[in-house]
Symmetry: C2
Subunit: 350 residues, 2 copies
């Protein structure tokens, strides 16, 4: 065990590898015309202000029927990841799931996922987190493998944001800052098999950044839940300081990019791929422009999937895997605007 | 890094140490007479069936007013732990919080705790878990320190169960299996400073057990949360299979005890202290009898604090610290009945 004090994953020493990826999106894509009709809002406004074309929902918005639970989506994504790598489920010695929208508070959804996968006798962890949750799960899994105590793990991220979509509400006079909560999000899940030695896709995790930077800063996004005692209170569950997000996230994204490059001793020109934050089609375009990496190819999915939270990095990595050649480098940037978490990771195909 | 496959923390190789503990219980203790009066239930029934004498609540049950958030309680406990050890907050390089009842879904409560503590630029993790959450947090923190990537961390556990206490409900005809949800629980938080090298109280964490064992088993306890779309549904939020818990937990506790002793190569007679599961005063007495360790002194708190979930192991360790001498050994057993997690840990004062 090393004795020097340091607070983060050491760069350039891959101690974990992504062997495979699986993702799951519920049902058919819902386009802006359909969404606008269901919510009673203007289709053009969605296209211009949000810039997202389609998304998937786990519940039938018209009837409220829940068609897929978060556990269903996560298990499906994990099965695909296991199948893709030909990994026997018995090789998995831990599961880490990141989500902001668990099916229930207890049991943790990760345990229902383990049950669906036929896994038993393994440690299971579920992280409560927003847009940084998938990166936090990756960070923990990397650390667990680096400790030498674990060798192969399932890292899962997913969200069912439609649990917060009350389609019975009349949105005709809703302010844009409120309306955004109804049109920004989607549902989905993703999973990765992480291994100590290179296997399958042979993607080395070179560095993971995960750092709280919210001291003294008001939360940019709040999602409340209701208990038995307060569920009939007439308060808002989702609140966003969209102005703070619009101003803060691009600045933080640039800081994360340069911080990651510095830690890795990589030059901006070394990057073959950039996985930018996936807030919305419009915001992602803006952030990518500000990051200013002309030589790196952008890998984004939000315009097709909506912001489905902790599923996003897996959806991006899945697209990346189709393109990446040995020796190529990719860098992912994620920002959690709830209480301002800087997150990101660096991948290299070996 | 070791290459052999193994799925758990290696025993007998302390890679983390508890330097100090802090706890926080909200307000004055509420005795059975007061609770019985507030809920309109029989005082004697609480005493006989639950066996818990007092508990603390973060909300005023009479008015519904929230007096302490979970973040408030966790920050207070963490401050006490930091103060007790004389640790400068700047030495903390990560925080892990375990809870089943976060204040909000976003931000994760751990980030509000960090803010209250004046901490910034550190990784923060929040585990969604029931009775095993504090052990899971301890397990992760131990692994993080064992990885050599981190040296000093705050491990926090807490729950505000009273978020689920609807005192407006008429309980006069409630079945015991329903009533139990109103009288079993309490609120509270606890925290520990974990260090790579022995410091402060010099308690070596010899082993941590955390294992999902719920494959194919129905959840023994479910806590649902309500979103914007479904909060007016007239469904039950807390459901317990009390019979399954009463039958399953004592058996699992005995299995955990012997499994931990086997991993540690300790004899039952070696144990100076036993920290049994803290389900309720009555269940804890029963389990302790079944564990059958006449030479080990029992360290329990539930009769005074109620079942306050992820705070319990910290409350037990705090009591333990007042008694433990160098060379003495303690073993803690915890069971999460939601989806059947075996948990426990072994401590030795050095």
């Amino acid at each position: 065990m090393s004795q020097e004090p340091h607070t983060e994953t050491r760069p350039a020493t891959p101690t974990a590898h992504i062997a495979s990826i699986g993702t799951a999106l519920p049902g058919d894509p819902v386009d802006n015309a359909s969404l606008a009709k269901m919510l009673g809002v203007n289709e053009e406004w969605i296209e211009v202000f949000i810039g997202t074309k389609t998304r998937h929902f786990a519940r039938d918005l018209a009837t409220g029927e829940v068609r897929w639970s978060l556990a269903d989506l996560c298990a499906r994504a994990a099965e695909k990841a296991l199948y893709a790598d030909g990994v026997d489920a018995s090789a998995i010695d831990f599961i880490v799931l990141g989500t902001a929208t668990p099916d229930t508070l207890m049991p943790a959804t990760v345990n229902d996922v383990a049950d669906q996968l036929g896994l038993d006798q393994v440690p299971t962890f579920q992280l409560q987190s927003g847009c940084a949750g998938a990166v936090q799960a990756l960070s923990l899994a990397q650390t667990m493998i680096a400790s030498g105590q674990y060798r192969t793990g399932l890292v899962i991220g997913g969200d069912v944001c439609s649990k917060h979509l009350d389609v019975r509400r009349d949105l005709s006079d809703a302010a844009p800052s409120d309306l955004v909560n109804f049109v920004l999000f989607g549902d989905g899940a993703g999973a990765a098999v992480l291994t100590a030695e290179p296997a399958g896709q042979r993607i080395a995790v070179r560095h993971v950044l995960n750092r709280f930077t919210g001291l003294g800063r008001k939360a940019g996004q709040v999602i409340e839940w209701f208990g038995l005692a307060d569920r009939h209170d007439d308060r808002q569950a989702l609140t966003e300081d969209y102005k703070a997000i619009e101003e803060g996230v691009p600045v933080m994204a640039v800081e994360i990019l340069w911080e990651l490059l510095g830690e890795l001793d990589w030059e901006a020109d070394d990057l073959d791929y950039l996985l930018p934050p996936q807030l919305s089609g419009r915001m992602t375009r803006r952030i990518t422009e500000e990051l200013g990496l002309p030589t790196a190819r952008e890998v984004s999915c939000v315009a097709d999937t909506g912001n489905n939270g902790n599923a996003l990095p897996f959806l991006q990595i899945e697209k990346l895997l189709g393109e990446m050649s040995p020796g190529e480098k990719a860098l992912a940037v994620a920002v959690e605007s709830s209480k301002w978490i800087k997150a990101g990771f660096a991948l290299e195909k070996i």
